[in-house]
Symmetry: C2
Subunit: 349 residues, 2 copies
């Protein structure tokens, strides 16, 4: 680009208004010691000429750009997980309510480098990190940086939060979520419950699995390893897994607890293909409460982590931190809730 039209500057406004440059600054930032009359006059001229203070110049002298980053770690390839998409929207909405803008970065490969650059070069003031995937080294880098970062359901395995500053964690209580989901199935009479988990190297998946196991133990139901399968959050993978169960000839479980709704849908797909009716022959419960969950047939019973409150909590925590100088690490844990729909049958009655 050679020379797009130059914008008008504060100096020019000052000249037009017949005041000094600093008076214009004073008007813009509404300093109390500028005469109301002057303010009004200058404001009119500012409006008339469409003057807007240059952001780069303000940031350069130490003002805050009011932009945060949202780093979304995603699985490779096209992201077809609408959970993460609605989280994006929620983060943006929450930020905008506080007059902040958000730069959303989708990180599919090991491209954390360009992303942390946004923090380093001062474009953004802080960041929210969400999504899946195994990214120890990038997360470490973020953790060890001085920048304010809020991690949502995602953080390095071995961290000692108390050592850090300006780092926070917002998470849904996945152990509890796994427990409640499993307990719900048990209370509906199920004892042979399969769990299709998320990737075993992700904390959220491990927690849900742990909750599952704990519920079984508490209700004196043996935990069988062959009833635990590792999925990868996609419809396709879940479909393959359950397909294999069906065609193996082994007896099917009476219920499945899927680590997320997409997985649950995959199971449903496999069932559809083989004429297995839900919930009559197989009960299923998911996790996330995607929009999809209420629309498929039968409507999916699922656990809701509260994507809205997750994003909101994260944004609020981040913005609070931006105002302060050094904030010690905080952890905020949100309770999941059960959304009862039609995919689980009570086999006691």
């Amino acid at each position: 680009m050679t020379g797009r039209k130059k914008r008008i500057t504060a100096a020019e406004i000052a000249k037009i208004a017949g005041v000094s440059r600093s008076t214009v600054t004073g008007v813009i930032n509404d300093y109390p010691y500028i005469a109301e009359k002057t303010k009004k006059e200058v404001r009119d001229i500012i409006k008339a000429y469409g003057y807007v203070p240059n952001s780069a110049a303000r940031v350069l002298v130490g003002m805050q750009p009011k932009i945060i980053g949202h780093f979304v770690y995603g699985q490779t390839g096209r992201m077809q997980n609408s959970y993460i998409e609605s989280l994006m929207v929620d983060v943006i909405s929450s930020a905008q309510q506080n007059e902040y803008s958000v730069v959303t970065s989708i990180i599919t490969e090991d491209k954390a480098d360009p992303v942390i650059k946004l923090l380093q070069d001062g474009t953004i003031q802080g960041a929210i990190v969400t999504g899946g995937g195994h990214h120890e080294s990038e997360l470490k880098t973020l953790f060890d940086s001085k920048f304010p970062v809020v991690f949502v359901n995602k953080f390095p395995a071995d961290f000692n939060l108390s050592q850090y500053r300006n780092k926070h964690i917002v998470k849904s209580d996945n152990i509890k979520g796994g427990y409640l989901a499993t307990e719900y199935l048990i209370k509906n009479g199920h004892t042979d419950i399969m769990h299709i988990s998320g990737l075993h190297d992700r904390l959220s998946a491990c927690d849900r699995l742990q909750g599952y196991k704990q519920a079984l133990i508490d209700y004196k139901i043996p935990v069988k390893e062959e009833r635990i399968k590792e999925g990868n959050y996609t419809i396709e993978r879940a479909e393959i897994i359950f397909e294999a169960c069906i065609t193996s000839g082994e007896p099917l479980p009476s219920a499945v607890f899927a680590t997320n709704d997409m997985t649950a849908i995959g199971v449903m797909r496999a069932c559809r293909r083989h004429g297995i009716r839900i919930p009559d022959e197989l009960s299923i419960i998911g996790f996330d409460d995607l929009l999809l969950a209420s629309e498929i047939q039968p409507a999916l019973t699922t656990m809701k982590a509260g994507s809205n409150s997750l994003a909101e909590s994260a944004v609020n925590l981040l913005l609070e931190t931006l105002d302060k100088d050094e904030v010690s690490a905080q952890v905020k844990i949100l309770d999941p809730i059960l959304i009862e729909r039609d995919s689980v049958r009570n086999i006691l009655i």
Copy 2:
């Protein structure tokens, strides 16, 4: 915030490396007239000290921030239209492939003001505008500005593109889409086809409606106004509309062309409640090809505008424009395609 740790500057790097400030700049921007040896030495120091050039300072001296905006006009309240969400992801992905970041702004009310400010204050270089809603005055403002903007399926009703500079339009051919959808129903033997449209003040809705009418006319089927209902893109509204049709006692159409998938889902919901089987008793075709469309039962036959290519075309058009000084307006029209699934029955056989 009082004083978060100051970053290291180019001047300090210069001092450490024992070279001058401008040499450091030369190394960073890889100027050809700097000795390779010097470059390497300085680069090592830069890396060792974690130096990253301050973005605000660079922008201030006229460099490009490499950030674009995505302004998403949405209906009031929670956006539960996953079409727009996946468009967001597509825009971000396309931009990132070109090493641009994107600030996504969701505009629910008449808040275009804060959003155009991002352009005016130089935070972003240009913008992509998508979404629904009636926002003549804001769009006008954008149109009349000097900033590069690409409008995706959304623009002022009365515009004379040729007058403008740095403004482009990317749209899917909605007339054709409406035509193809309707024609498909006709070819499957349907003659009593209802259309649930989008809001009549939105161009895309009008175009789809027009295509619908044209197809009927071309196939010598009378257009009946009572078969055209105005929806608002939501499941809820569509459900109410079709519910009313069912309970009115009037004969139902044999097919429905819904202006988007959400509307189609609303119709399906109403049918479910009343035991009307799809596609046996009612055929239905949607528009958008949401992920949902392939998952619901029966899988929804729909028109795909190609959200991916829409976003990609828009981003490419915008980035090309950013490099140039003044670009005359362009219009890019994308062809919709039919995705055949199971919600339409051929009533001829």
